[in-house]
């Protein structure tokens, strides 16, 4: 185990903080609340080939220690909302201003993934997109005599479906895929499902100010905003999940990251095209979405 860890630390391109990873792996054995009866012998640590599985076992064990109450009790769900105001602000700041080469999960979440951020960021994003889409349509048609203003309340439910489906199903699929790869190839960094959801939820935060600024009915402004938001949140996702696939086959690792970023692009461009009427009535947004869809489908 130690040898492999030192190898990991030597790598110059290491995206994850090696010290943090060491603490993470050695955490359960140092913890005083460790159950002696649980089957976690030293044999697993000596066996380098099993380290990937052993690590995931340990993270599960850590999670089991943290939330001791069974899942039907209210206390079990309280552990997902066990955050303070400053922690949520720190995480939001970390997702808006990513530090190059730093892992979002290890830097901010640190084995305390919360669902408060993802849930309320998604809720805010839903209403931000629906309301500012409606406002921008109103501004575009302002002054036209024939235009009759319509609140378009139905777009709230459509936005809610899209955003919540993206923020839960994509992490689920990604987590399943990483678990499956973990059973084949040794990966030192592995994330739990909650950590994946947490990263995705916080990475969507940058779209809230973007959606508000999309009210400006200028095509150039909108596309610049999309590119900025996509660059920030895409880099957060890529830097977080790159360590989890780095040990894998180069081609699969790259394909995973490209798929993550492409799905993110599809979400933002799709939202812009669907909820915000183009100022000029040409079909540029629709034409841009189509190739992305085919690429995503091919993956």
């Amino acid at each position: 185990g130690l040898q492999l860890l030192s190898e990991f630390g030597d790598e110059a391109t290491s995206a994850a903080n090696p010290g943090a990873t060491t603490i993470h792996i050695e955490g359960p054995s140092e913890s005083p609340t460790h159950q002696p009866g649980l089957p976690r012998g030293s044999g697993g640590e000596e066996d380098d080939e099993l380290l990937g599985n052993d690590d995931s076992d340990k993270t599960e064990l850590l999670a089991g220690q943290k939330k001791s109450s069974p899942f039907w009790t209210f206390e079990y769900y309280q552990t997902f909302f066990d955050v303070d105001t400053y922690q949520v602000f720190d995480r939001i700041k970390g997702s808006v201003l990513p530090i190059p080469g730093k892992n979002f999960v290890r830097l901010y979440i640190r084995s305390n993934p919360d669902l408060y951020g993802p849930f309320w960021i998604c809720a805010t994003l839903v209403f931000a997109i629906a309301i500012s889409g409606n406002l921008s349509n109103f501004l575009i048609h302002l002054g036209e005599k024939t235009y009759h203003y319509v609140p378009e309340f139905r777009k709230v439910s459509i936005a809610a479906t899209i955003i919540y489906a993206y923020a839960w199903l994509v992490p689920l699929a990604l987590w399943g895929f990483l678990m499956w790869r973990n059973s084949k190839v040794v990966n030192i960094v592995s994330y739990s499902f909650l950590e994946t959801v947490c990263v995705y939820g916080y990475s969507l935060f940058i779209y809230i100010p973007t959606a508000v600024l999309w009210i400006i009915p200028q095509k150039a402004v909108r596309w610049i905003l999309v590119v900025i938001a996509l660059g920030i949140s895409g880099s957060v996702l890529a830097m977080t999940f790159w360590p989890a696939v780095r040990e894998d086959n180069r081609r699969i690792a790259l394909a995973t990251i490209v798929t993550i970023v492409l799905l993110h692009t599809l979400l933002s461009v799709g939202c812009l095209a669907y909820f915000f009427d183009a100022p000029e009535m040409d079909h540029l947004p629709a034409a841009t979405v189509a190739p992305n869809q085919t690429v995503a489908a091919a993956k």
Binding site: D82, D84, T85
Partner: protein, 236 residues
């Protein structure tokens, strides 16, 4: 429970000795009867209270409930640090406010497919589902407030926004134009702020100090969405 305590004691010595002597005997042997003794006065008091409402006239009962609802309305309109809204909750006020709001947001057009405004059921779902979500959120964050108390406060604090809706409908009777919109915008913003101030006055103390902002933010979002529905309402 007192009877049980007597029967468990020695039957020969029950009649002359004072009540407390028997009690002290039992508390030494097992402490469960003492616990029962503590709850008895409260329960009998409640039973007395119930029997007193049983033979009052229906008018009195309705008037008392209406008075309670009206008192809570006053508490929302003039928010103080008071526990009346929290101590005895009811959901009559929220129901009345929610139905009134949803009815006023209903537009008169026949073809409901064409108009994009919120339907009666959508308003209802947003208000109740939103209030339940906020309550669950504050409970999950570790707030010490009961589920229905929080629902009651959130429901009653819609009152300023319902008033705003009423004002908007009256203003919309006048000639439409930018001034008309400005008046509505002003009314809705003031009433939105009022709702926020009132609900935070009641709810903020129930949260640990380092999580107040996390619990208040969803409330802000909730009233903001309702304000948006009111502001964008157009008849026809």
């Amino acid at each position: 429970m007192a009877k049980a305590a007597e029967s468990s004691g020695d039957p020969g010595t029950t009649s002359p000795r004072p009540l407390f002597a028997g009690l002290s005997d039992i508390s030494i042997s097992q402490d469960i009867p003492v616990e029962g003794e503590i709850t008895i006065p409260m329960r009998s008091h409640i039973r007395e209270f119930d029997s007193s409402t049983l033979n009052e006239s229906v008018q009195n009962t309705i008037m008392r409930d209406l008075k309670a609802v009206g008192k809570k309305f006053m508490h929302v309109l003039y928010p103080r640090k008071s526990n009346t809204l929290l101590r005895d909750w009811d959901l009559w006020g929220p129901l009345i406010l929610c139905v009134t709001l949803a009815l006023m947001l209903q537009r008169s057009s026949v073809d409901s497919e064409k108009d994009g405004g919120p339907q009666f059921a959508e308003v209802f779902v947003i208000v109740w589902f939103g209030a339940v979500t906020i309550t669950l959120n504050s409970k999950l964050l570790g707030g010490n407030i009961s589920f229905f108390q929080s629902l009651c406060v959130l429901g009653y604090c819609i009152l300023p926004l319902t008033v705003a809706m009423l004002v908007c409908r009256l203003v919309l009777l006048a000639e439409p134009g930018p001034i008309n919109f400005m008046v509505r915008l002003f009314v809705v913003i003031v009433m939105f702020a009022w709702s926020i101030v009132a609900s935070t006055a009641f709810l903020a103390d129930s949260q640990p100090p380092n999580r107040k902002a996390l619990a208040i933010y969803p409330v802000f979002l909730f009233y903001f969405v309702i304000s948006w529905m009111i502001l964008t309402f157009t008849p026809q």
